[in-house]
């Protein structure tokens, strides 16, 4: 070892010695901290040094110094003497009677030997008893500490039928494992971390900032004050460094870690020994398997449930948009609605659409009670002045004059059929995509129709998420071109069918918020293709209204106005 290295080691040993003695100041602590962080060899030395110190502190009974053994046994003898004061008389009497019995039985006495093992055990027993008495009297009885709260549950089926944890139950560290076979639970740790667990799962709470996930999936949101929150699985440990992350512990002892925000450390273990470490940052994911070690894997955005709310069985997997077509279909906006389900424009009732026809509207705003997120529907006709478009009394001032007729209704889907002119039922196209499917949702709103969504109720259903934009593509279905030779319109004057070109069908598209137009495109034909809509939504906005009207192409009215709002989405800002 060079002089320089030797001096460094001595300096390091002085720092460590001061630390252990409690004599180190902040500046030297920082110096030591820096050395240990930056130099793995110094860290190894630190651990060796501290371990040696601990062994020196603890090895009194094994140390060869006679004085040490004397001290140890003198303590034991004192304890024994103390015990003798209280127990002697009874024992002596017992022994006396035993001796008398032995004498009477004429049993040959053997020389009394002091059995060292028995003596040692007796000494230890007495010491042990006094030791425990001392501990129990000096320290308060340990009571399990409650360290977290079961904040919410959705559709949970507990693993043990005798267990029924309710919302608000306090959870204790180091109690029995908690298991559930289905559903979702949310736990708020006292240190601040919030965890959503998806069943089937089993876990233990270790402390107000640590848990063990034996199997299952969890998503942890850890605020700044709770940095250090730790999730252990059977073969790994994940420590949060200020983040949101998901952990999947499989039955086959593999663990996956997906980091959505911030970063974590992942320590992989096998039989308690560390196999590897990794720092996993935002946008990254790792999988640990005992035989293969730590591997990079793609991050899965929807793998974990991040938020739940029992009030409306809300379960959110991190989706960034709410699908308004799904809402029209009776869903939550997250894929729970039904295709081809919509709203009857004549009475506001929920309805499955299988056939359609031209109908005449009531020229009134109809509140919709069948759908919690749709405020109302109407057939826009501005011929007699501004049209009411919300339950709050907002009006569409410049609503165009229409014939008050519409085709079919507003529903989750995109198909059209016109038996009278032999146009078969088919899915509509826009921008080259086929709509009215699970992958490509749309609201079919053949002119003249309007629907108003209640943004307040939608916000209330998504608990803490904010909406900042509405987007969609609007236009007339390109299938109009496929059926161009079949397109006809009824000439009311001459009472006959007349052929009509696809491009002669026009539609106006409007998006209003609280009665104010934020988007409009007029006289759109099939030749305009898909027109993008992007409208900002502000926290104070209450009603979002989508409207199609027949365009100014008289006398065709609503003929072939196969208009749709494709991929209508409210964008979330978590």
């Amino acid at each position: 070892m060079t002089d320089h290295n030797k001096n460094d080691k001595l300096h390091l040993s002085e720092l460590i010695s001061d630390l252990v003695s409690g004599k180190i100041d902040a500046k030297r602590h920082e110096e030591l901290h820096k050395i240990l962080i930056e130099d793995p060899k110094s860290l190894e030395y630190y651990i060796d040094y501290i371990t040696t110190w601990a062994l020196l502190d603890e090895c009194c009974e094994d140390h060869e110094s006679e004085s040490l053994q004397d001290d140890f046994y003198s303590d034991i003898w004192k304890a024994l003497a103390e015990n003798e004061k209280n127990a002697n008389i009874i024992e002596m009497e017992s022994k006396r009677s035993t001796c008398e019995t032995l004498e009477k039985a004429n049993i040959e006495r053997v020389p009394r030997k002091i059995n060292k093992v028995n003596l040692t055990v007796a000494i230890l027993s007495t010491a042990a008893l006094l030791f425990m008495i001392a501990y129990v009297s000096m320290f308060p009885q340990y009571t399990p500490e409650d360290v977290a709260t079961l904040s919410d549950t959705v559709n949970v089926v507990w693993g043990n039928s005798s267990v029924n944890y309710e919302k608000g139950t306090r959870l204790y560290a180091y109690k029995e494992p908690i298991r559930f076979d289905k559903g979702y639970i949310r736990i708020g740790f006292d240190e601040g971390a919030d965890v959503v667990i998806e069943g089937p799962a089993e876990f233990d709470i270790s402390s107000s900032s640590q848990m063990l996930l034996s199997y299952g999936r969890l998503y942890a949101s850890v605020p700044q004050q709770a940095i250090g929150f730790t999730v252990a699985t059977p073969n790994s440990k994940i420590i949060d460094l200020g983040t949101e992350f998901g952990v999947l512990a499989n039955f086959d002892d593999t663990t996956e870690l997906h980091v959505y925000k911030g970063k974590t450390t992942l320590t992989a273990k096998r039989k308690g020994l560390v196999q590897g470490n990794a720092v996993v940052s935002e946008g990254q994911a790792r999988r640990f398997e005992t035989t293969l070690g730590i591997q990079d894997i793609p991050l899965r955005e929807r793998a974990f449930v991040r938020k739940i709310y029992s009030g409306n069985n809300f379960v959110w997997r991190g989706q960034r948009t709410i699908d308004l077509a799904d809402i029209v279909g009776g869903g939550s906006g997250f894929g729970t609605g039904s295709l081809n389900q919509g709203i009857d424009m004549l009475n506001g009732a929920s309805k499955m659409f299988g056939k359609s026809a031209e109908l005449v509207g009531t020229n009134k705003y109809i509140s919709v009670r069948s759908n919690p997120y749709v405020d109302g529907i109407f057939v826009p006709d501005g011929g007699e002045g501004p049209v009411i478009i919300t339950s709050g009394g907002h009006v569409f001032e410049d609503c165009p004059d229409t014939n008050g007729r519409f085709w079919g209704g507003t529903f989750n889907g995109a198909w059209h059929e016109a038996q009278s002119i032999k146009i078969p039922k088919h899915n509509l196209h826009l921008g080259g995509k086929v709509y009215g499917t699970g992958d490509n949702p749309s609201i079919y709103a053949h002119a003249n129709q309007g629907i108003t969504f209640d943004l307040l109720k939608i916000r209330n259903s998504i608990h803490g998420l904010t909406i900042d934009r509405f987007t969609a593509n609007c236009g007339i279905s390109e299938t109009l071109l496929d059926y161009s030779e079949l397109l006809k319109t009824w000439d009311y004057s001459n009472k006959e069918w007349k052929s009509i070109k696809p491009e002669d069908s026009w539609v106006d598209f409007y998006v209003l918020v609280d009665g104010k137009v934020r988007f409009s495109k007029k006289d759109i034909s099939v030749l305009n293709g898909a027109i993008p809509i992007s409208v900002a939504i502000y926290p104070e906005d209450r009603f979002l209204t989508l409207i199609t009207t027949q365009g100014s192409n008289d006398p065709y009215g609503i003929t072939n106005d196969w208009s749709l709002f494709a991929e209508p989405s409210l964008h979330l800002n978590p």
Partner: protein, 181 residues
Amino acid sequence: MDDKNSDNLIQDGDYFVRQLMIHRKRIYSFILSLVANSSDADDIMQETAVLMWKKYQETADISSYAAWGIRIAHYKVLEFRRKHRNKKIQFNSDLFESILVGAVEVNEGLDRRHEALKKCISKLKPQQKKIIELRHQKGQTVKSIAELLHLSPHNVYKLIPRIHDMLVRCIHRTLRTEGLV
């Protein structure tokens, strides 16, 4: 496996305390590595012992007292860190985790280190042995050691880490010689 139901047992309490005494140095060494302060380590060791006793009564079978005790000690150390977060200077989470990993590894071979330490202590000069005895077994302060040995406190302050360093290096050499490192 430690056999709780051995015929040699007198009472559960006796057995527990005996096991605690046998494994105490491993648990204490683990705690000291993480908190790096003798006084705090003593407190945490006591709390760990109390919790171990409480948990012992609820636990049907313990395959390894040392591992079980260390798990409970780890919990107690984390609790300590949280309670004293704003009162005491602490290592940050990264460093703590690195130390934890190292401490667990070293703890596995603690008995061999202990044997090596005994040999190394026997090689110390008498005054060095005395300083170690007074510091660690008697718990004497630097000042009182200096008075007892007629040395200046500054000299004793400098000597203690040097002696420790000698022992650390000697232990390493001993373990290497025996093929254990």
